[in-house]
Amino acid sequence: MSDLTPEELERWQETTLQKAVSKSPERQPSFETTSHIELKNIFTPLDAGAADYMPDIGFPGEFPFTRGVQPTMYRGRFWTMRQYAGFATAEETNQRYKYLLAQGQTGLSVAFDLPTQIGYDSDHPLSDGEVGKVGVAIDSLKDMEILFDGIPMDKVSTSMTINSTAAILLAMYIAVAEKQGVKSDLLQGTIQNDVLKEYSARGTYIFPPQESMRVVTDIFAFCKNNIPKWNSISVSGYHMREAGCTAVQEVAFTLADGIAYLDAAMKVGLDVDSIASRIAFFFCCHNNFLEEVAKFRAARRLWAKIMKERFHAKKDSSCMLRFHTQTAGCTLTAQQFENNVVRVALQAMAAVLGGTQSLHTNSRDEAYALPTEGSVKIALRTQQIIAHESGVADMTDPLGGSYAVEALTNEIEKKSVEYIRKIDEMGGAIKAIAAGYIQKEIADSAYQYQKDIESKKQIIVGINQFQTEEAPLKDVLRIKPEVEEYQKQKLARVKAERNNEKVKETLAALKKAAQGSDNVIPLILEAVKAYATLGEISDTLREVFGEYTQQ
């Protein structure tokens, strides 16, 4: 194919290149990506040649999907522009959703507050100070009815960042849709439902890992039979990356978690091809542009191989790694905060060139607080500019065939395979997390990154170079303290108006199922419809499953 020989490359290195370097040396003795992949001066067909075109790169829409999961990608339809949003009460968040949809956003993404994520009602002592802070507070079906009021649930797809209490929020979503007259088999969306990364990075666990995995597999089975278009899990590398891991570690730890979920599903007798196509993924997009593009391509190829070789998936759709991307929150700076618009644009562009299915772009003011409406608008407009103006969406995988990107794709895949092998040897992701291995790897990388910034090995504009004196941003979104009281009163009203006998009955039935082996999701749905609260349902499961405490 290529007429480049190693001798020819060597000649260039020893003559033309050497002459230039000896006259004026390069900026650094060596260059590497954040995953410590060494970068050569140039990559050539000799590097990219490690991949064979047909088996390794191939065509979009065909195994191993390196170039994209759909044949037409963004020539058919742009990615879903999906801003993660939620704060204060269901009433206020409902207004923000309507605003975002009016601005041309194409899907919803719900952020819940921490009590909702950890299974406490707004009136629980541990909810003190947290109600409505990082997301919307949902205590009962009543709140969910308000949240989706006037939003056509048969048309909008909804992603919910919810894990330990995913079953409860999913049940509420189904119940509200029913009230809107929308049948559950029409519902489209995703629940995150990825508890493993809660132990390794994100922290909203409730139950011990084995019990959590039981709920996860109950959800898989329930979704398969009742809401076939719903993604029953979004295996997430995002939070591990935000906690500090590298691009390679993000791919490896995420796919290792994916393997653990499939292992659990196989163990309870689910057929791989009946659930695999509803498994979605969620990645971060960080600063190092080409490494990030390559990361997405490598993840797609590696997952396809894992599905075929390890799980013997028969359907092509089972081998497709479909993913959501969010730009990297940890790269946002409080200093010269407007520069964040540029960082986000570059990261978003890399996600698009990497073939993401949906995208959240962060807002410029998020190193201070949740974003204002004005900041969110710029973030959304950034995606629209990439889609409509930049031209990158008019070809599929336009960086495919770049010697550098193909070489990086190969290298990221190779290094991820090594990590996954190590995790396999420990007995899989659940054991690796129990041993603290993944947490330690993440913490080590985070510390190294901080040291690199402080030693100026890594320059961050406005942080360790190009600093300016400036007044800090003051106009930020504030959650009123009254939200907590308002939410408590609403909860008290729900408890006063509902049929408490019915609540008791449904919770008793749920407890019985949890103690046995019946699928708990239909019983959670019954409890939700009786207006049992999120806290009551979680407590019922806590009694049976126990609680996890960090080691």
Partner: protein, 131 residues
């Protein structure tokens, strides 16, 4: 030789973002301090009892959920109630600048925002903790 400074790094509230807390705990340790890290999801009561039990000089609170106005002052108040008001408290995280005066009034000695270097925090602790 100067005695070793003892620090408790704590995560109050329900927030699981512990990257900053862990990085700072490690940097302080590397700087020769004795550091106890509480792990996530600690109540102010748990933090205060750990601080007293471990006999620390200073407590660093990290929070990114926005619950700082409620939880930071509570830690200071409980320390004073338990007769441990001499234990200093500082904090960091995603904290709007307008909240800082109120937090300082409540007894939080210093607030570090994103972008603060571990060097600055190490120096700050060395300066403020009595020898």
């Amino acid at each position: 030789m100067a005695r070793t400074i003892r620090v408790l790094i704590a995560k109050p509230g329900l927030d699981g973002h512990d990257r900053g807390a862990k990085v700072i705990a490690r940097a302080l340790r590397d700087a020769g301090m004795e550091v106890i890290y509480t792990g996530i999801r600690q109540t102010p009561e748990q933090i205060v009892s750990a601080a007293i039990q471990e006999g620390v000089d200073i407590v660093g609170l990290s929070i990114l959920s926005g619950a700082h106005n409620r939880l930071f002052p509570k830690v200071v108040k409980l320390l004073r109630e338990k007769g441990a008001g001499d234990i200093l408290v500082f904090g960091g995280g995603i904290i709007p600048v307008d909240d800082i005066p109120g937090l300082k009034e409540a007894g939080i000695k210093e607030i570090f925002l994103p972008g603060a270097s571990t060097e600055d925090i190490i120096q700050y602790i060395r300066d403020i903790v009595p020898a």
